[in-house]
Every structure is written in C-alpha cells, then in structure tokens.
Symmetry: none
Subunit: 419 residues, 2 copies
Amino acid sequence: MKAEIIAVGTELLMGQIANTNAQYLSRELAAIGIGVYYHTTVGDNPGRLKEAIAIARERADVIVFTGGLGPTQDDLTKDVIADVLGLRLVTHQPSLDKIEELFRSRGVAMVESNARQAALIEGGTPLPNDTGLAVGELLEAGGCCFVILPGPPKEMKPMFDRYAKPLLLAKLPGEPLHSRMLKFAGIGESSLEHRLIDLISAQRDPTIAPYASEGEVTIRLTTRAATPELAASKLDPVEAEIRSRLGEHLYANREAAIEEIVAELLKTRGETVAAAESCTGGLFASLLTDVPGSSAVFAGGVVCYTNAVKREMLGVPGRLLEGDGAPGAVSRETAASLAAGVRERLGSDWGVSVTGVAGPAEVEGKPVGLVYVGIAGPDGGGPEVWELKLSGNRETIKLRAAKSMLYRLWRRLTPSDAR
Amino acid sequence: MKAEIIAVGTELLMGQIANTNAQYLSRELAAIGIGVYYHTTVGDNPGRLKEAIAIARERADVIVFTGGLGPTQDDLTKDVIADVLGLRLVTHQPSLDKIEELFRSRGVAMVESNARQAALIEGGTPLPNDTGLAVGELLEAGGCCFVILPGPPKEMKPMFDRYAKPLLLAKLPGEPLHSRMLKFAGIGESSLEHRLIDLISAQRDPTIAPYASEGEVTIRLTTRAATPELAASKLDPVEAEIRSRLGEHLYANREAAIEEIVAELLKTRGETVAAAESCTGGLFASLLTDVPGSSAVFAGGVVCYTNAVKREMLGVPGRLLEGDGAPGAVSRETAASLAAGVRERLGSDWGVSVTGVAGPAEVEGKPVGLVYVGIAGPDGGGPEVWELKLSGNRETIKLRAAKSMLYRLWRRLTPSDAR
C-alpha cells in the first residue's frame, strides 16, 4: 500500500513553520507497514490543491492530508476534496454540538464560519478531534483512501493515533510490524555498514535499515509477526549476530542517547562522574545533565579553557603545560592529569577529561581535530587516554569529542561479557 | 518567479528526520522575492525522482534540490537530473583535489565513490561547499533553473547563502532586495509583537517580519533599492523606531547569536568571563565556546551540580546551602555567592552564575522553572541577581536560562547610551 502526505498551508511555503507533521506521519505509517512515497506541500489555494490531489491519486493508494480544516476562508481542504470527487459536504452533528457548546460555555457568540469545522464529505467516517474543534475524516472514494487531519500537531497526532491508525490497520493485509532500534557509538556509519554489508545485502525478514545522525548511528530491525513474542523470536537472532560483530559499539537496543545509558549505568552502580573539559567547553556536562535524574550521578565539572584553570583548579603540573619540552595542554599527559585531577578534586568515582583543538585555528602547533580523552576510575591503575583525529567544523568536533567521552566511559562501565 | 523545493532522501519519507531544509529555503527565497509554490519530498529512487522533476518543470521556474549528493550509490540527484536533461556529468577538478587532499591528510585511502561528490552536470555553475565535500550547482537548462544543494543543513545553508542566493538575485527583475536582521534577547515573541503591533500592521516598505526560534526572537526588515546606501536610508528609520522602543533587548542588527556579540564585546574591552553553572549544566560555557576565538575571553567554568562542589570549588558558605533557615542552593544568595566565587577563583573580570530547577522534579521545595542568574563584575559593588520563572521541559529551561545569562551579561557590557 503506497501513501502520500499532502500538507496544506501557505505558512509552510513561507517557511514560517517546519513540516513536522510529515515526519510524524511518515514514521507512524512506516511502523504499521504503509510505505510513504511522496510528501507534497501546497498553499491555501484551491486550484493548486486540486492539481496536487490529481497527481497524488495517480500514484498513491492512501492520501493523508494535514491542515486546512480551520474556520477561516483559507481553510478549504474538505471543500476541494469534495469538489474533486463530486461529493457533497454535510454537517457532522456531534461536532457541531461540541462547537456550539464550547462557545456557549465561554459566553461568546458563535460565528457562522465556525460551523465549517463540523463539515464532513458525505460517505466518510468521522475522526473525532479530542484536542480541538475541527472533525477529521477517513473516506474511501474513487479508488483511493483519503485521510483528512487537522494541521496543528497537538490535534493531528491524537486524531491519527486514536482514530485513523486503527482504521488503516484494519485495511492492511498480513500481520502487524514490529521494530527494534539498535544504537551504536564510537563508530561511523560507513564502517558500521562495511562490517554488516553481508547482512544488509541479504536482508529479507527482518529488514535491516541503518541511518546516521550527528555523533551516533542507528539500525532499525523490522519484521511482521502476530505477537511481540513471535517478533522477538525473529529479531533476537539478528541482534545477536550484529552484537557478536559490533558489541563494543552497541550501547542500547532501544531508542536512547548514550548519555542516558551512561547515567543509568552509573545509577545502577551507585557511582558518580566528574568532567574536566577543555576543547568541548562544557558540552559533555550539558549532554549528561540533559538526562532527568542526572544530578544523582554527575558530581560536576570544570571547563578548563586556560592553562591557569588547568593548574589551579585541577592540579595539572605546570611543567606539563608550558616550557621547553613540555607536552603541552593538548597532550596525552595533560589529558591523564586532568582526569585524575577532576576525580580527586570533585571527589567522584570517575573522572573524565578532554583536551584538544576544536578549531578554527591550530593550537601549540597541533592540528584542528586532534583530541585526547582521558578516564580515571575507581579500579586502580593510572588514567587511560585515547587519541582521536576528528573532522568537521568547531561545533562538530566539540560534539564528536563529547560523544567520544561518553562512549569511552560507557565501555569502562560495561563488563566486557555483557556486550 | 515560481519556485519548487524538491528534497531527496528516503530518510525523510521514513520520518527519520524532518524536512527543515524546506523551511529554511522557503524563508530565504521569500525574503528575496521568489515565491515557493510547492515542496515535494521523494526517496532515493531514480524513477520517482524523474517523475517529480517532470512535474516540477511544468509548474516552476526555479527548482531547488536538497539531498542526494553524497558518495554512496543511493546518492543520485545529479545523475538523475543529468539524465532527464540529456546532459553529461563531468568532474569539477577543484572539488576532486579537495577530496583527495582530505583523504591524504587523514592518511586514509580514498574510495572511488568519493569522487562522485566532485561531479557536475555540464554547463552549470559550481557552488562551493565550504563545510563539506559535495559540490553544488546552479544550472539553467530546458527553460528552468536547477539549484542543486547537499542535504546536511550545515552544508546546505552556507552554500545557499554564499553562492546560490547571489546568483538567484542577479536573475531577478527590478531592484534587488536588501534585508536587515534585528536580533532580540530577554523578550518573548508575543510581547515583542505587542510592542510593535502598530508598525507591523502598517508595514509596506520596508516589510517587517518577526519570527522566533528557541531562546531568541528575530525581526527581518526588507526593502527593494538600487544600492545598499539607498536601502539603508529606508531601513535606518525603521530600525531607529524599533530601537527606541526595544533598545534594551535589541542586541544586534545582523544575523548573530547573543554569545557571539558577548564574545565580541569582551574582546573589545579586553576582559574575560568565568561561569558557575548549576541548573544549566555547562550549557552557557558550551554556547560561548561555540564562538571561534572565545578562548581569548572565556577563562573557564565550573559545573557545580552538588553542594559540595559549590562549597569547595567556589567557596559558597555552607550556611547558605543547608541547615535551618538556609536560603538553599536555589536562591538569590547562592547565585550571588557563586558569581563572586567563580570570578575570584578563576581570576576573571566577570563572574556569571546560574542556579535553579530544570525539572522534571522540584528541588528544595522550589518549583520547576525557578532560576536565579547572578553577575559579579569589575565595577565594584556586590553581585547583581535576577529571578526568572521559566517554562518548558528540562532542555528548554536549560537553554532559556543560559540565554538569560548571556542577555544579562550583554546588558552589563553595553553602555546604556549605546542601546
């Protein structure tokens, strides 16, 4: 079953808002096995909307409309669809009653145009609007299924989820779809694909879909099955195979950022972490403190941009930082000293550090993208340090360096036999 | 001139990302007087992309493509456009040199597919990619103008702004458009609009368009004029009128984040700032260090999530934090002590502090969203403190609190007669 999403609204074409409805609906439709082949956005213009509908009818079995159900003269989605199909608009009495009741309760006179929000194209199934006034509709006509939803996301999402989705599911042949997200860190999209290329090429059921966003890579496994248990029996072996190859990068098998998983691991272990950040400028701390409840595991951090702060707040010996033959602020030695220093000064179980060159200019003759990450832990021995060569602009290098700190800490917090 | 935006990428149709490129481009094209009539999104599928191009050529004078310029086999935007137009792909040597140089500098072997990013359709004008590898293109062919841009916003935006927009402007009839961005902090979109409603309602030339994103509000003034000087003579009086009403919020009259302006002001004054952050968790430091060259003005920061760190690293007296009748960590007194403490300990000219409740749960019986911002300066007198009541989820409260710190610091750094 092929779907197209048509968003109606001049505000989208003016760039006043982003079409997040298309993203939401695409994800929801994909999750129940309906492939979306096109998104179209068109303004509040009857002629151009008609043309868009004509094109969509040629190439889609389901057309999902969002927007243009409001009370103003610009809101004409239902009128145009009715016109295209040669059908009449009728009044949906329960919706009209609700609108009238609302105006009565507010003591405001209802204007005629508000009644437009209770209109239905004859022959369709009304989709109740639990969070607004305009009624939606699912209509089968002319060989196509028309799903008509309001534009505001807070009305559109519950209407789709509660009323449209069950009706669409009932129309679908076969068993429902089940998905599982596998989340990876410390590896780029291309090397991940390279190491799974045989699985990805041979995929049939479950399907294996990799995708990347800044700083992380995700794989979605999807299969059809009658029950979640039967789905798991098909998904588990694929996950196990991927884990056997990439276990040291696979930090979660559900939608979660690595900072959430690190916070959970620390909480379970009853441990805390502190951070000494030079080139990331506080980004590691900011990511970790985006996690609700992180105050239980994050002791705090020092953003040590200057050598003076590295020395005085974190006890890095001056001989490491400056002078003849000193390794310098951007070095393995300084990263180690920062990790140990922040752990000691803040009294945490773990100390994580980073020092490097975020750009745009080189520092101490060291190139942009050279970064050292250090970890000092409660398990004895000196701090561990990793050298990274990151690419990208200043913000990207900061993000990649902060995600590397999280990745290295995750590795240390995870017993190797659990991976 | 009618435009259509075609976004290419299966990840958009799967709902993995929102099509924010269409929003950005719509706004930018509208600002130079090019009306966008349709957005279309299509997957990485040559047949369907061809059909989308055929439809767009019927109804648009300019087609702006985003996405599908990468190195993988899925990236086929240029191939398909070349095929539709019956043109050949050629290699853009400067782009190929740049790609080869990058791989050489990393010591990695370049795979053949990476050369695809240097391809151009013959006859077009290359659009340099200052933040990535894939070269873009502007091509006039078959009665239509094709603008081909990469998908990642951090590559697409600078390419459009620096290279595509000037070429499009040169094609437009009439006098060129001139825009000026007015940037505001410390005020919400609705109260800003309220205070300018008479100007916005009566606007003709220049046009006055407000829009908001998280943590800041922008107004764009636009006019047509033969020269920048003539444009300025029309824009200056409107800016002056707005400044007379909202000068204490208007931090820049060009596209700039408040952290950039704060960094510039500090640099000019030869001063430094240090930050003590509790509820923002390092976000202030991270924003400020996103600015290239911020190392000259940012001494460093302490993320003082726990009372122990507030006491030991920043010298906040224990009696403020805990015990009978203590004001607590989230208080005016603690904010003042943190600002003074971080200024002293890090030896900076300015100390900025924040303590508050980012949520989801209340702290010390204090509600989510209660935040105190403190500033200690070189100009004598005790630290100044402001109480804020912020709304939103945890991340939004963090961002609004960090932007408030920047706003308050900006006010202190700006002589009142300069506003």
